[in-house]
């Protein structure tokens, strides 16, 4: 159906590619069918699951296509006929695109399964349009990563922003959602503007917008121009990825969308931005100066730390998860930063570990963040709220959801043998590797500081998820809604279950995962030989360190069995908790605010917390009958970066309005003066 150009090795590759193309085509068709269906079926709510089914089938296609290319190694290009002054659409599926297609497919399948049960219970949203935008969102993401020229990339990049925007504002009556959507759209377009400049500026010299030509011709550009291009890519893709300080839209927009969309936005869309960054910086720009890597590493550290710190202060489950996405993007950027440094310093082994760490963490974060968002969606559906203070004790009523969330929480806290541990271990190895290599004093310092920051981030993330899991699922319910919560339909748990199982698989077999990721690493300029290690162990090649999660898991299981065995022999006594003479209930529980308090105090210089306590009393302040507490923290970037810019622009526009005075004589004067000016400019005849 399309003209095909195969470049690969042998017949096996060609078969894989043909298969991949067919599957990708089927996937895209499934998305389009889903979008069309949901427009047609918007009035029939009983059929509202079908768009999700189409989306799920499409994502299976993406996943299979991506895997086929990763296992077959090769690239193919599809050209779509179209008139445009800059050239039409074309698609290409190389191993890097295939890897990201796998990420989209895996999380997309789970989210679509979840969505079948979830959408039917959504209130205040137009199901037809949610289904349509959901399908278009998946379609755009797949076409962004497979786009083979700048026009295709930018078109679907914008399509991705627009479709996700409509999903964010799908709760139409909610002013907060609209505000969130607006902030999101503005930040997204700020990024797109940078990307347009990024792609079109060199095009004026190299006369091509095809990615294949860019990869050949960009390295020859002048160094100064390449630096500007690098910064444009960092801002353009960073704003979409949620890199600090461009992250302000993220904690607003992600929670406002339906949960399976939040899972896709946090788990996948941010990664699509990282895809763009990797593609441009590694394959187009060529080897750059050392400070590029240091800048990315530094931004990664800042993003990781600030993300987790703001997450600790959040009491809304989905906002908390959104801040953790900022944190994890930071961790991914640390890997990318090390890889960039290694490339500038010509250290191929370190380059490979850095890239592998970044790609692996991209996949892992997509899986466990998707899982956590799906879990939060189940909780939101069962309790009708996202506020953790109003939850509690849900483990008794929603055991499957609680189990899935626990797996996700353990994975994001990088606990072995789950997948988060494997990729954070690789990131640690990359940072240690940077510290060990005796290149210069600053590389050692950067590596060491990076290790310290990553360790602090990991500790804080664990604390945060103890808070999130404990306050939500354990102890006693703190509201009527939490008391009456019930387990969600099976399809929703099945969606989460796929991701939970993936957390285990990706965590237990890291060397297999690394082998599958190898073509993608190679596509980014990493060295070809596979990372050393056996089937069961992953070795970093840095100081002989290696990791065997299966062994770790076996030890853990043995320890668990041993403790159960020994504790079963101890005498047991059941009694009520001592309440200092009072009675203990749900209100005396340790809640999210109290859990976060030590961190609020320790990091007061950053949060600058504001609190307000109003006590009601009649006779004496010592005998209070009511107590109102309000606490909040202030946000650094909103206050000092975005607000001044916004008010300056509005002020300017308001001044400009005075041109339109309403007086006809003034207008005629404009006309006359323009004529004079035009004639005067042409001084050839004056």
């Amino acid at each position: 159906m399309f003209p095909l150009f195969f470049s690969g090795r042998g017949r096996k590759v060609a078969i894989f590619l043909k298969l991949a193309l067919t599957l990708l085509g089927l996937g895209l068709a499934g998305n389009l069918a889903g979008a069309a269906l949901s427009c047609a079926l918007r009035r029939l709510s009983s059929l509202s699951r079908w768009p999700s089914v189409a989306a799920g089938a499409a994502c299976l296609g993406y996943l299979a296509a991506g895997l086929a290319v990763l296992l077959g190694e090769g690239t193919h290009v599809v050209v779509l006929p179209m008139f445009h002054p800059l050239g039409g659409f074309s698609l290409s599926l190389d191993p890097l695109a295939a890897f990201f297609l796998c990420v989209i497919g895996l999380v997309g399948v789970a989210a679509s399964l979840f969505g079948q049960g979830y959408l039917r219970h959504l209130k205040g949203r137009d199901l037809g349009s949610v289904g349509a935008w959901y399908n278009l969102f998946l379609l755009s993401m797949a076409l962004v990563v497979t786009g083979a020229n700048a026009v295709t990339f930018l078109f679907f990049w914008e399509g991705m922003a627009l479709s996700s925007y409509f999903l964010v504002v799908s709760k139409k009556e909610d002013p907060a959602a609209r505000q969130a959507g607006f902030v999101y759209l503005v930040m997204a377009h700020l990024g797109t503007a940078c990307l347009v400049v990024l792609f079109l500026w060199p095009a004026a010299q190299i006369h091509s917008l095809a990615f294949a030509r860019m990869a050949i011709l960009w390295p020859g550009l002048p160094a100064g121009e390449k630096t500007i291009l690098f910064l444009l890519a960092l801002v353009g893709f960073g704003s979409k990825a949620g890199m600090v300080p461009l992250h302000v839209w993220l904690p607003r927009a992600h929670p406002a969308a339906p949960s399976q969309v939040s899972a896709l936005m946090s788990g996948v869309m941010l990664k699509v931005a990282i895809y763009g960054l990797l593609r441009v910086v590694f394959t187009f720009l060529g080897v750059g100066p050392v400070w590029w890597g240091l800048l990315v590493l530094g931004l990664g550290v800042v993003s990781a730390l600030l993300g987790v710190l703001y997450a600790l202060m959040e009491h809304d489950l989905k906002r908390l998860l959104a801040y953790h996405s900022v944190e994890n993007i930071g961790i991914i950027l640390m890997g990318v930063g090390v890889a960039l440094l290694a490339r500038s310093l010509h250290l191929p082994a370190l380059l490979m570990i850095g890239l592998l760490a970044a790609l692996y963490h991209i996949l892992n974060h997509a899986v466990f963040k998707g899982l956590l968002f799906l879990g939060s969606g189940s909780v939101a559906q069962a309790t009708g709220t996202g506020d953790m203070e109003k939850m509690g004790g849900l483990i008794h009523r929603m055991p499957w959801t609680a189990g899935g969330f626990l797996v996700g929480a353990a994975a994001i806290s990088a606990l072995p043998p789950l997948n988060g541990f494997a990729s954070e271990w690789l990131t640690f190895q990359a940072l240690f590797g940077l510290g060990y290599h005796p290149v210069a004093w600053w590389s050692g310092l950067a590596g060491t500081l990076g290790v310290a920051a990553l360790a602090l981030t990991g500790g804080l993330a664990a604390a945060c998820f103890i808070k999130a899991y404990g306050v939500t699922f354990l102890a006693l319910p703190r509201s009527r809604a939490a008391e009456k919560a019930a387990e969600v339909p099976r399809s929703m748990n099945l969606g989460a279950g796929i991701l939970a199982a993936s957390c285990f698989v990706l965590g237990l077999f890291p060397s297999r995962v690394a082998a599958v990721l190898r073509p993608a690493v190679a596509a980014l300029g990493g060295p070809h030989p596979p990372p050393p290690g056996s089937f069961f162990t992953l070795a970093s090649g840095m100081g002989g360190a290696s990791l065997s999660p299966l062994l770790l898991a076996a030890i853990l299981v043995v320890l668990l069995l041993a403790t159960r065995f020994w504790s079963g022999r101890m005498p047991e006594r059941l009694s009520a908790t001592w309440g200092c003479g009072g009675t203990l209930g749900a209100t005396s529980e340790y809640n999210a605010t109290s859990f976060a308090k030590p961190f609020r105090i320790a990091f007061a210089f950053l949060f600058r917390p504001v609190r307000e306590i109003n006590s009601g009393y009649e006779v004496s302040p010592f005998f209070r009958h009511s107590l109102h507490y309000r606490g909040e923290i202030r946000f650094l970037f909103e206050e000092y970066l975005y607000e001044p810019v916004r008010s300056f622009l509005l002020e300017l526009a308001d001044r400009f309005r005075q041109v339109q005075s309403g007086n006809l004589r003034t207008y005629l004067a404009y006309l006359f003066l323009t004529l004079l000016a035009l004639l005067a400019v042409n001084n050839k005849w004056l």
């Binding site: 503005v186 006309l671 042409n682």
Partner: protein, 490 residues
């Protein structure tokens, strides 16, 4: 060739019939005129399509009537929006008992609307520059009376400013024609003859420069280029929505068309200066429009400011020149017309049902009038330059052309686009989504004549669907003409 005359004759015949019918005192005449208005729109579309296919098939004509890729492309939005606006007017015509002389009002509309359309068709076919000037002036006169259809003091003021300012402009363009004819050895007002003079280098540069400066002011006033624009937001917002559609989507394009024709004549003599002036004027207008979008408070004025911005972009595209710049400008013209037509047509029912044009009073439109508000929002995104709409691609083309000229220019252009997008999205989403106060259990009974206007909605959807089709796949003949016109104008 008979088909050009046929294309021109059909709308003119309908317009003449409408004028004759208007002279009849009988009440039935008003009824007949309603049909004539509808027919005139679709006949214009027919003429546009006819011309387009014939030109794409290789036909070319130079003489008193002139037909090439440029004229066929500029006629296309006139045809599509003409059909859409005429359809929307089917129910828009005032209910019989609005006031005592409501009948006469309708009678005026009944012959002015077909006349306006016929005159616009004539503009694109004019090969003679005097004829071009006359027809362009006739579009001003006929549309000014249409602007004042509401008969309120505000609409009278808007129409008055419109006529005065563009009238002052058309004096300039008349002088410009004089200077142009003085600049050639034998003063023939025929465009192709002048072009061959210009290409042979027989144009006096000094006189051509004056002619171009005057033309820029004259046609610029008609396009609404900054700072000659002040009439534009008034006129386009006070006119009834179908008329606003034609003003914003079709009429301004014709002034651009005339300016491009002049540009092609003087460019060989003036060189880069002519292009650079256009570029500066276009960018300035685009920036002014984008900034004013941010602080708009009235829906239709917001749309008018966006028109100013887009006209600026189109003119800047022709100013950037080259096949890329001109091609992107032509695409931008086509996509903007379709999107803006859909916007204004949808704005009609939305403002009628909301009972106001004030953006904050229109809050919650999506709940009140779901279909037109959804169309309004989507075409708003289109005008703002979001995929899947073609406006994104044409703006990308403009940026590409700007980069080829200078990166600084492109960054400026990108800032303008970003500003206008921010403003449009902010206002339109706020207007459609959020209800200002929770809807009261007993809705106030709508006033007579404020019920949904299905014809306007259908027309808005029609324009929007064509936009979407053209965005995803530009039909073969149109794409072919785009290439040819870009080559001619680039």
């Amino acid at each position: 060739m008979p088909w050009v005359e046929a294309a021109l004759a059909l709308p003119v015949l309908v317009a003449l019939t409408a004028v004759i019918v208007a002279l009849s005192p009988s009440q039935a005449a008003v009824h007949v005129q309603r049909y004539l208005v509808l027919i005139s729109g679709w006949v214009t579309l027919l003429a546009a399509v006819l011309l387009l296919t014939r030109v794409a098939a290789g036909a070319n004509l130079h003489g008193f009537f002139q037909v090439d890729a440029l004229s066929a492309l500029f006629l296309l939005p006139v045809g599509i929006l003409g059909a859409a606006a005429a359809t929307a007017s089917w129910a828009q015509q005032s209910p019989p008992a609005r006031d005592a002389d409501g009948g006469r009002d309708d009678r005026l509309f009944g012959w002015l609307f077909p006349t306006f359309l016929a005159v616009m068709v004539a503009v694109t076919l004019a090969g003679n520059l005097v004829f071009l000037w006359v027809t362009l002036e006739a579009t001003t006169v006929s549309s000014a009376l249409l602007v004042d259809r509401a008969g309120t003091s505000r609409s009278v003021e808007a129409a008055w400013k419109f006529v005065l300012l563009t009238g002052a402009g058309s004096l300039c363009s008349l002088f410009s024609l004089g200077f142009l004819l003085a600049a050639v050895p034998t003063p023939v007002p025929d465009w192709s003859a002048l072009l061959s003079f210009a290409r042979a280098g027989h144009l006096d540069p000094a006189l051509a420069a004056v002619a171009f400066a005057l033309a820029l002011v004259g046609f610029g006033a008609k396009i609404g280029l900054f700072p000659l624009h002040p009439w534009l937001p008034d006129a386009h917002s006070e006119a009834p929505s179908p008329v606003s559609t034609l003003l914003s989507g079709a009429e301004l394009g014709l002034a651009v068309y005339a300016l491009v024709r002049y540009l092609l004549l003087v460019r060989p003599a003036l060189g880069a200066w002519s292009q650079e002036t256009l570029l500066a004027a276009g960018l300035l207008s685009a920036a002014a429009g984008a900034v004013m979008i941010l602080v708009s408070r009235d829906l239709k004025r917001l749309l008018a400011w966006s028109t100013l911005e887009n006209m600026g972009l189109i003119v800047a595209g022709f100013g950037l020149g080259g096949e890329l710049g001109a091609g992107a400008a032509l695409l931008q013209m086509l996509y903007h017309s379709l999107a803006k037509g859909s916007l204004f047509l949808a704005a009609g029912p939305v403002t009628e049902e909301g009972g106001s044009r004030d953006l904050s009073a229109l809050a919650g439109s999506l709940a009140r009038s779901p279909v037109p508000a959804a169309v309004l929002l989507l075409s708003g995104f289109a005008v703002a330059g979001s995929p899947p709409f073609g406006n994104f691609l044409s703006e990308l083309g403009l940026l590409g052309a700007a980069f080829a000229a200078s990166p600084l220019l492109a960054v400026l252009l990108a800032t303008v686009l970003l500003t206008s997008l921010t403003g449009l999205v902010y206002h339109l989403t706020k207007m459609t989504f959020i209800a200002r106060e929770p809807p009261s259990p007993t809705p106030t009974p709508p006033e007579v004549g404020t019920s949904a206007n299905p014809w306007a909605v259908a027309a808005a959807v029609f324009s929007g669907v064509i936009l979407l089709i053209f965005s995803l796949h530009l039909p073969g003949p149109v794409a072919q003409l785009m290439r040819a016109a870009a080559k001619l104008a680039g």
